[in-house]
Amino acid sequence: MHISEGIVSAPVLTGGAVLTAVGTAVGLKKLDYERIMTSAILTAAFFVGSLVHIPVGPANVHLILNGLIGVILGWASFPAILTGLFMQAVFFQYGGIVVLGVNTFNMAAPAVCSYYCLRPWLDNSRGKQAVAAWLGGFFSVFLAAVFLALSLTLTDEGFLETAGILIGAHLPVMIIEGFVTMFAVVFLNRVQPEILKRSKMSVQEKVSRSMTE
Protein backbone atom coordinates (compact mmCIF):
# COMPACT_ATOMS: atom_id res chain seq x y z
CA MET A 1 0.00 0.00 0.00
CA HIS A 2 2.96 2.32 0.49
CA ILE A 3 4.40 3.78 -2.69
CA SER A 4 8.20 3.56 -2.65
CA GLU A 5 10.39 6.49 -3.52
CA GLY A 6 11.20 7.19 -7.14
CA ILE A 7 8.00 5.74 -8.57
CA VAL A 8 5.49 8.55 -8.91
CA SER A 9 6.14 11.73 -10.87
CA ALA A 10 6.79 15.16 -9.38
CA PRO A 11 3.29 16.60 -10.05
CA VAL A 12 1.71 13.64 -8.23
CA LEU A 13 4.12 14.11 -5.32
CA THR A 14 3.33 17.79 -5.10
CA GLY A 15 -0.42 17.28 -5.45
CA GLY A 16 -0.38 14.64 -2.72
CA ALA A 17 1.71 16.83 -0.44
CA VAL A 18 -0.62 19.82 -0.87
CA LEU A 19 -3.79 17.78 -0.27
CA THR A 20 -2.19 16.16 2.78
CA ALA A 21 -1.14 19.54 4.14
CA VAL A 22 -4.71 20.83 3.83
CA GLY A 23 -6.17 17.67 5.38
CA THR A 24 -3.65 17.78 8.23
CA ALA A 25 -4.42 21.43 8.94
CA VAL A 26 -8.16 20.70 9.09
CA GLY A 27 -7.50 17.60 11.19
CA LEU A 28 -5.32 19.43 13.71
CA LYS A 29 -7.91 22.16 14.02
CA LYS A 30 -10.65 19.63 14.70
CA LEU A 31 -8.54 17.56 17.08
CA ASP A 32 -9.56 18.58 20.56
CA TYR A 33 -7.67 18.15 23.77
CA GLU A 34 -9.53 15.06 24.99
CA ARG A 35 -8.87 13.10 21.82
CA ILE A 36 -5.13 13.54 21.65
CA MET A 37 -4.31 10.35 23.56
CA THR A 38 -6.88 8.33 21.58
CA SER A 39 -5.30 9.59 18.35
CA ALA A 40 -1.82 8.71 19.57
CA ILE A 41 -2.86 5.18 20.52
CA LEU A 42 -4.67 4.65 17.23
CA THR A 43 -1.58 5.96 15.42
CA ALA A 44 0.52 3.48 17.38
CA ALA A 45 -1.86 0.71 16.29
CA PHE A 46 -1.51 1.90 12.68
CA PHE A 47 2.27 1.96 13.05
CA VAL A 48 2.43 -1.59 14.39
CA GLY A 49 -0.47 -2.96 12.31
CA SER A 50 1.63 -2.60 9.18
CA LEU A 51 3.86 -5.41 10.45
CA VAL A 52 1.02 -7.93 10.26
CA HIS A 53 1.54 -9.36 6.80
CA ILE A 54 -0.61 -11.40 4.51
CA PRO A 55 1.49 -12.86 1.68
CA VAL A 56 -0.42 -12.54 -1.60
CA GLY A 57 1.39 -12.97 -4.91
CA PRO A 58 4.61 -11.06 -5.44
CA ALA A 59 3.66 -8.02 -3.38
CA ASN A 60 3.28 -8.37 0.35
CA VAL A 61 0.17 -6.79 1.77
CA HIS A 62 -0.39 -5.88 5.39
CA LEU A 63 -3.02 -4.48 7.70
CA ILE A 64 -3.59 -0.80 7.24
CA LEU A 65 -6.24 0.07 9.84
CA ASN A 66 -7.17 3.32 8.14
CA GLY A 67 -10.85 2.35 8.44
CA LEU A 68 -10.62 2.01 12.22
CA ILE A 69 -8.80 5.33 12.49
CA GLY A 70 -11.31 6.93 10.12
CA VAL A 71 -14.53 5.96 11.89
CA ILE A 72 -13.17 7.02 15.26
CA LEU A 73 -11.10 10.09 14.45
CA GLY A 74 -12.69 11.64 11.34
CA TRP A 75 -10.56 14.48 10.02
CA ALA A 76 -7.93 13.85 12.68
CA SER A 77 -7.06 10.75 10.60
CA PHE A 78 -4.85 13.00 8.48
CA PRO A 79 -2.39 14.02 11.21
CA ALA A 80 -2.63 10.53 12.75
CA ILE A 81 -1.81 8.70 9.51
CA LEU A 82 0.82 11.28 8.53
CA THR A 83 2.63 10.69 11.81
CA GLY A 84 2.23 6.92 11.56
CA LEU A 85 3.60 6.85 8.02
CA PHE A 86 6.49 9.11 8.98
CA MET A 87 7.41 6.68 11.76
CA GLN A 88 7.13 3.71 9.39
CA ALA A 89 9.36 5.46 6.87
CA VAL A 90 11.98 6.23 9.49
CA PHE A 91 11.90 2.96 11.43
CA PHE A 92 10.90 0.36 8.85
CA GLN A 93 11.90 2.03 5.56
CA TYR A 94 8.33 1.69 4.27
CA GLY A 95 7.46 4.21 1.59
CA GLY A 96 9.69 7.21 2.15
CA ILE A 97 9.80 10.82 3.20
CA VAL A 98 9.40 12.22 -0.32
CA VAL A 99 6.26 10.16 -0.99
CA LEU A 100 4.81 10.84 2.47
CA GLY A 101 2.24 13.30 1.10
CA VAL A 102 0.87 10.94 -1.54
CA ASN A 103 0.83 7.95 0.80
CA THR A 104 -0.90 9.91 3.55
CA PHE A 105 -3.57 11.19 1.20
CA ASN A 106 -4.16 7.72 -0.26
CA MET A 107 -4.84 6.25 3.18
CA ALA A 108 -6.35 9.19 5.05
CA ALA A 109 -8.83 10.39 2.42
CA PRO A 110 -10.70 7.03 2.45
CA ALA A 111 -10.64 7.19 6.26
CA VAL A 112 -12.38 10.57 6.23
CA CYS A 113 -14.85 9.28 3.60
CA SER A 114 -15.81 6.33 5.75
CA TYR A 115 -16.21 8.66 8.72
CA TYR A 116 -18.81 10.70 6.85
CA CYS A 117 -20.57 7.73 5.23
CA LEU A 118 -20.62 5.33 8.16
CA ARG A 119 -20.29 7.34 11.33
CA PRO A 120 -24.06 7.96 11.72
CA TRP A 121 -24.60 4.19 11.63
CA LEU A 122 -22.26 3.63 14.55
CA ASP A 123 -24.77 5.21 16.90
CA ASN A 124 -27.34 2.56 15.98
CA SER A 125 -28.10 -0.82 17.49
CA ARG A 126 -25.28 -3.26 17.99
CA GLY A 127 -25.99 -5.26 14.81
CA LYS A 128 -26.05 -2.24 12.52
CA GLN A 129 -23.01 -0.87 14.26
CA ALA A 130 -21.03 -4.05 13.60
CA VAL A 131 -22.02 -4.05 9.93
CA ALA A 132 -21.12 -0.39 9.57
CA ALA A 133 -17.75 -0.94 11.22
CA TRP A 134 -17.03 -3.91 8.94
CA LEU A 135 -17.92 -1.82 5.90
CA GLY A 136 -15.71 0.98 7.22
CA GLY A 137 -12.71 -1.33 7.41
CA PHE A 138 -13.45 -2.91 4.03
CA PHE A 139 -14.12 0.21 2.01
CA SER A 140 -11.30 2.25 3.48
CA VAL A 141 -8.81 -0.28 2.14
CA PHE A 142 -10.75 -0.58 -1.11
CA LEU A 143 -10.72 3.18 -1.65
CA ALA A 144 -7.06 3.38 -0.62
CA ALA A 145 -6.27 0.81 -3.34
CA VAL A 146 -8.24 2.90 -5.85
CA PHE A 147 -6.38 6.07 -4.85
CA LEU A 148 -3.09 4.19 -5.03
CA ALA A 149 -3.94 3.00 -8.55
CA LEU A 150 -4.89 6.55 -9.46
CA SER A 151 -1.58 7.98 -8.28
CA LEU A 152 0.32 5.32 -10.23
CA THR A 153 -1.87 5.99 -13.29
CA LEU A 154 -1.15 9.69 -13.18
CA THR A 155 2.48 8.70 -13.50
CA ASP A 156 2.44 6.03 -16.18
CA GLU A 157 0.55 2.79 -15.66
CA GLY A 158 -2.94 2.06 -17.06
CA PHE A 159 -5.64 2.72 -14.47
CA LEU A 160 -8.06 -0.19 -14.88
CA GLU A 161 -5.35 -2.80 -15.03
CA THR A 162 -3.43 -1.38 -12.06
CA ALA A 163 -6.59 -0.88 -10.02
CA GLY A 164 -7.62 -4.45 -10.81
CA ILE A 165 -4.29 -5.86 -9.63
CA LEU A 166 -4.23 -3.72 -6.50
CA ILE A 167 -7.80 -4.40 -5.48
CA GLY A 168 -7.28 -8.10 -6.14
CA ALA A 169 -4.12 -8.13 -4.04
CA HIS A 170 -5.77 -6.25 -1.20
CA LEU A 171 -9.03 -8.20 -1.18
CA PRO A 172 -7.92 -10.47 1.69
CA VAL A 173 -6.78 -7.41 3.63
CA MET A 174 -10.12 -5.70 3.00
CA ILE A 175 -12.01 -8.65 4.44
CA ILE A 176 -9.66 -9.10 7.41
CA GLU A 177 -9.58 -5.39 8.05
CA GLY A 178 -13.38 -5.34 8.02
CA PHE A 179 -13.37 -7.86 10.86
CA VAL A 180 -10.58 -6.13 12.79
CA THR A 181 -12.47 -2.83 12.60
CA MET A 182 -15.72 -4.54 13.53
CA PHE A 183 -14.26 -6.25 16.62
CA ALA A 184 -12.43 -3.10 17.67
CA VAL A 185 -15.57 -0.98 17.40
CA VAL A 186 -17.79 -3.52 19.18
CA PHE A 187 -15.15 -3.88 21.88
CA LEU A 188 -14.81 -0.13 22.33
CA ASN A 189 -18.57 0.22 22.42
CA ARG A 190 -18.67 -2.21 25.32
CA VAL A 191 -15.81 -0.84 27.38
CA GLN A 192 -16.01 2.81 26.43
CA PRO A 193 -19.08 3.81 24.44
CA GLU A 194 -18.33 7.52 24.72
CA ILE A 195 -15.39 7.23 22.36
CA LEU A 196 -17.82 6.32 19.58
CA LYS A 197 -20.54 8.77 20.50
CA ARG A 198 -18.06 11.54 20.74
CA SER A 199 -19.56 13.90 18.17
CA LYS A 200 -22.94 13.97 19.87
CA MET A 201 -21.46 14.35 23.33
CA SER A 202 -19.19 17.14 22.27
CA VAL A 203 -22.16 19.08 20.96
CA GLN A 204 -23.94 18.59 24.28
CA GLU A 205 -20.81 19.54 26.15
CA LYS A 206 -20.40 22.65 24.08
CA VAL A 207 -24.04 23.63 24.75
CA SER A 208 -23.73 23.04 28.47
CA ARG A 209 -20.40 24.87 28.56
CA SER A 210 -21.77 27.86 26.71
CA MET A 211 -24.75 27.92 29.06
CA THR A 212 -22.58 27.91 32.16
CA GLU A 213 -20.40 30.61 30.69
Binding site: S4, V48, L51, P58, Q93, A149, T162
Partner: protein, 207 residues
Protein backbone atom coordinates in the same frame (compact mmCIF):
# COMPACT_ATOMS: atom_id res chain seq x y z
CA UNK B 1 -10.77 7.92 29.30
CA UNK B 2 -8.69 5.51 31.32
CA UNK B 3 -10.79 2.62 30.12
CA UNK B 4 -10.34 3.72 26.52
CA UNK B 5 -6.61 3.78 26.95
CA UNK B 6 -6.71 0.35 28.58
CA UNK B 7 -8.83 -1.03 25.75
CA UNK B 8 -6.63 0.35 23.04
CA UNK B 9 -3.49 -0.81 24.84
CA UNK B 10 -4.97 -4.31 24.82
CA UNK B 11 -5.39 -4.03 21.05
CA UNK B 12 -1.74 -3.00 20.82
CA UNK B 13 -0.61 -6.03 22.80
CA UNK B 14 -2.65 -8.14 20.40
CA UNK B 15 -0.69 -6.68 17.50
CA UNK B 16 2.56 -7.33 19.29
CA UNK B 17 1.66 -10.99 19.44
CA UNK B 18 0.91 -11.00 15.74
CA UNK B 19 4.09 -9.15 15.04
CA UNK B 20 6.03 -12.44 15.05
CA UNK B 21 5.50 -12.71 11.33
CA UNK B 22 7.55 -9.68 10.54
CA UNK B 23 7.95 -8.86 6.89
CA UNK B 24 8.24 -5.48 5.42
CA UNK B 25 7.87 -4.64 1.83
CA UNK B 26 10.48 -2.28 0.55
CA UNK B 27 12.27 -4.31 -2.12
CA UNK B 28 15.94 -4.93 -1.64
CA UNK B 29 17.99 -6.15 -4.57
CA UNK B 30 21.43 -7.65 -4.33
CA UNK B 31 23.52 -8.87 -7.25
CA UNK B 32 26.88 -10.55 -7.28
CA UNK B 33 28.96 -12.27 -9.87
CA UNK B 34 29.71 -15.98 -9.68
CA UNK B 35 32.10 -16.84 -12.48
CA UNK B 36 30.30 -16.43 -15.76
CA UNK B 37 26.90 -15.85 -14.28
CA UNK B 38 25.46 -13.00 -12.32
CA UNK B 39 23.14 -13.89 -9.49
CA UNK B 40 20.41 -11.57 -8.35
CA UNK B 41 18.42 -11.89 -5.18
CA UNK B 42 15.30 -9.85 -4.55
CA UNK B 43 13.73 -9.76 -1.10
CA UNK B 44 11.27 -7.67 0.78
CA UNK B 45 12.83 -5.69 3.59
CA UNK B 46 12.41 -7.82 6.66
CA UNK B 47 12.68 -11.41 5.61
CA UNK B 48 10.53 -12.63 2.73
CA UNK B 49 11.98 -13.44 -0.69
CA UNK B 50 10.29 -11.63 -3.59
CA UNK B 51 8.85 -14.48 -5.65
CA UNK B 52 8.05 -14.07 -9.34
CA UNK B 53 9.44 -10.54 -9.32
CA UNK B 54 10.36 -9.19 -12.73
CA UNK B 55 14.09 -8.59 -12.97
CA UNK B 56 15.35 -6.23 -15.64
CA UNK B 57 19.02 -5.76 -16.39
CA UNK B 58 19.90 -2.52 -18.15
CA UNK B 59 23.01 -0.68 -19.11
CA UNK B 60 23.29 1.93 -16.36
CA UNK B 61 23.99 4.86 -18.67
CA UNK B 62 21.73 4.38 -21.66
CA UNK B 63 19.02 2.29 -19.99
CA UNK B 64 19.27 -0.23 -22.84
CA UNK B 65 17.69 -3.52 -21.71
CA UNK B 66 20.03 -6.51 -21.82
CA UNK B 67 18.27 -9.30 -19.95
CA UNK B 68 14.97 -9.77 -18.19
CA UNK B 69 13.23 -12.60 -16.36
CA UNK B 70 11.36 -13.70 -13.26
CA UNK B 71 12.75 -14.73 -9.88
CA UNK B 72 12.18 -18.24 -8.59
CA UNK B 73 10.55 -19.29 -5.33
CA UNK B 74 13.62 -18.21 -3.36
CA UNK B 75 13.65 -14.79 -4.95
CA UNK B 76 16.74 -15.74 -7.01
CA UNK B 77 17.44 -15.04 -10.64
CA UNK B 78 20.63 -15.75 -12.54
CA UNK B 79 21.84 -14.96 -16.00
CA UNK B 80 25.07 -15.39 -17.96
CA UNK B 81 27.10 -12.20 -18.21
CA UNK B 82 26.04 -10.71 -21.57
CA UNK B 83 29.04 -10.72 -23.99
CA UNK B 84 28.11 -7.19 -25.01
CA UNK B 85 28.46 -6.06 -21.40
CA UNK B 86 31.93 -7.60 -21.12
CA UNK B 87 33.04 -6.03 -24.40
CA UNK B 88 31.88 -2.55 -23.51
CA UNK B 89 32.57 -2.81 -19.77
CA UNK B 90 29.06 -1.72 -18.89
CA UNK B 91 27.84 -0.91 -15.42
CA UNK B 92 24.62 -2.86 -14.96
CA UNK B 93 21.48 -1.46 -13.39
CA UNK B 94 19.40 -4.31 -12.05
CA UNK B 95 15.79 -3.57 -11.20
CA UNK B 96 13.28 -5.81 -9.46
CA UNK B 97 9.64 -4.99 -10.05
CA UNK B 98 7.27 -6.71 -7.62
CA UNK B 99 3.94 -5.33 -8.72
CA UNK B 100 2.56 -1.82 -8.64
CA UNK B 101 4.45 0.53 -6.39
CA UNK B 102 7.17 -1.94 -5.34
CA UNK B 103 10.53 -1.57 -6.95
CA UNK B 104 14.13 -1.91 -5.92
CA UNK B 105 17.42 -1.59 -7.77
CA UNK B 106 21.08 -2.44 -7.50
CA UNK B 107 24.02 -1.11 -9.47
CA UNK B 108 26.59 -3.74 -10.39
CA UNK B 109 29.79 -2.01 -11.42
CA UNK B 110 31.65 -3.42 -14.41
CA UNK B 111 34.74 -4.00 -12.29
CA UNK B 112 32.77 -6.25 -9.94
CA UNK B 113 31.89 -8.83 -12.53
CA UNK B 114 34.63 -8.34 -15.13
CA UNK B 115 37.31 -9.53 -12.76
CA UNK B 116 35.52 -12.84 -12.45
CA UNK B 117 34.44 -13.31 -16.01
CA UNK B 118 37.57 -11.89 -17.69
CA UNK B 119 39.44 -15.12 -17.17
CA UNK B 120 36.49 -17.33 -17.74
CA UNK B 121 35.40 -17.03 -21.37
CA UNK B 122 38.44 -18.60 -22.99
CA UNK B 123 38.68 -21.19 -20.28
CA UNK B 124 35.92 -23.69 -20.83
CA UNK B 125 37.37 -24.62 -24.21
CA UNK B 126 41.00 -24.27 -23.14
CA UNK B 127 40.89 -25.78 -19.69
CA UNK B 128 38.60 -28.68 -20.36
CA UNK B 129 40.90 -29.87 -23.11
CA UNK B 130 44.16 -29.01 -21.44
CA UNK B 131 43.19 -30.59 -18.21
CA UNK B 132 42.69 -33.92 -19.92
CA UNK B 133 45.94 -33.56 -21.79
CA UNK B 134 47.72 -32.97 -18.52
CA UNK B 135 46.35 -36.13 -17.13
CA UNK B 136 46.97 -38.15 -20.27
CA UNK B 137 50.30 -36.80 -21.35
CA UNK B 138 51.85 -36.32 -17.96
CA UNK B 139 52.65 -32.62 -18.68
CA UNK B 140 54.64 -31.63 -21.79
CA UNK B 141 57.13 -29.00 -20.92
CA UNK B 142 56.85 -26.93 -24.14
CA UNK B 143 53.24 -25.78 -23.61
CA UNK B 144 53.63 -25.77 -19.86
CA UNK B 145 53.94 -22.37 -18.18
CA UNK B 146 51.24 -20.38 -20.01
CA UNK B 147 48.59 -23.04 -19.83
CA UNK B 148 49.39 -23.75 -16.27
CA UNK B 149 48.89 -20.14 -15.40
CA UNK B 150 45.42 -20.17 -16.97
CA UNK B 151 44.59 -23.39 -15.30
CA UNK B 152 45.72 -22.20 -11.93
CA UNK B 153 43.83 -18.98 -12.32
CA UNK B 154 40.60 -20.83 -13.06
CA UNK B 155 41.03 -23.32 -10.31
CA UNK B 156 41.87 -20.64 -7.81
CA UNK B 157 38.96 -18.48 -9.01
CA UNK B 158 36.55 -21.40 -8.76
CA UNK B 159 37.76 -22.41 -5.35
CA UNK B 160 37.68 -18.88 -4.10
CA UNK B 161 34.16 -18.57 -5.41
CA UNK B 162 33.13 -21.64 -3.47
CA UNK B 163 34.86 -20.50 -0.33
CA UNK B 164 33.59 -16.96 -0.57
CA UNK B 165 30.00 -17.87 -1.40
CA UNK B 166 28.89 -18.24 2.23
CA UNK B 167 30.74 -15.06 3.11
CA UNK B 168 29.00 -13.16 0.33
CA UNK B 169 25.71 -14.59 1.46
CA UNK B 170 26.43 -13.51 5.03
CA UNK B 171 27.41 -10.05 3.89
CA UNK B 172 24.26 -9.63 1.97
CA UNK B 173 22.13 -11.02 4.76
CA UNK B 174 23.62 -8.36 6.99
CA UNK B 175 22.68 -5.71 4.43
CA UNK B 176 19.10 -6.72 5.01
CA UNK B 177 17.57 -4.27 7.43
CA UNK B 178 15.61 -6.37 9.87
CA UNK B 179 12.74 -4.91 11.78
CA UNK B 180 13.60 -5.03 15.40
CA UNK B 181 11.24 -4.96 18.36
CA UNK B 182 13.40 -2.05 19.51
CA UNK B 183 12.20 -0.06 16.49
CA UNK B 184 8.60 -0.90 17.27
CA UNK B 185 8.84 0.05 20.93
CA UNK B 186 10.87 3.14 20.07
CA UNK B 187 8.28 4.22 17.53
CA UNK B 188 5.43 3.83 19.99
CA UNK B 189 7.44 5.80 22.55
CA UNK B 190 7.85 8.59 20.03
CA UNK B 191 4.13 8.64 19.31
CA UNK B 192 3.23 8.88 22.98
CA UNK B 193 5.83 11.60 23.42
CA UNK B 194 4.41 13.57 20.50
CA UNK B 195 0.93 13.19 21.98
CA UNK B 196 2.27 14.57 25.25
CA UNK B 197 3.75 17.58 23.48
CA UNK B 198 0.51 18.15 21.54
CA UNK B 199 -1.52 17.93 24.75
CA UNK B 200 0.80 20.37 26.46
CA UNK B 201 0.54 22.91 23.62
CA UNK B 202 -3.25 22.58 23.43
CA UNK B 203 -3.47 22.95 27.19
CA UNK B 204 -1.36 26.11 27.09
CA UNK B 205 -3.64 27.56 24.44
CA UNK B 206 -6.65 26.77 26.62
CA UNK B 207 -5.19 28.74 29.48
Amino acid sequence: MRQTVNGLSLCLIFFFLLELDVQAHGVRVFAWSAGETIKVEAAFRGSGPARKAKITVQEAESGHELVSGLTDSKGLFQFPVPPQAIREKMDLKITADCGPGHKGKWLLKAADYLEMSAHSPPLPAATGGEQEKEVDGGGKEAAGPEIDEHLIRTIVAEELDKKLAPLKKLLHESLRPKIDSRDVIGGIGWLLGLAGIAAWIKNKKKE
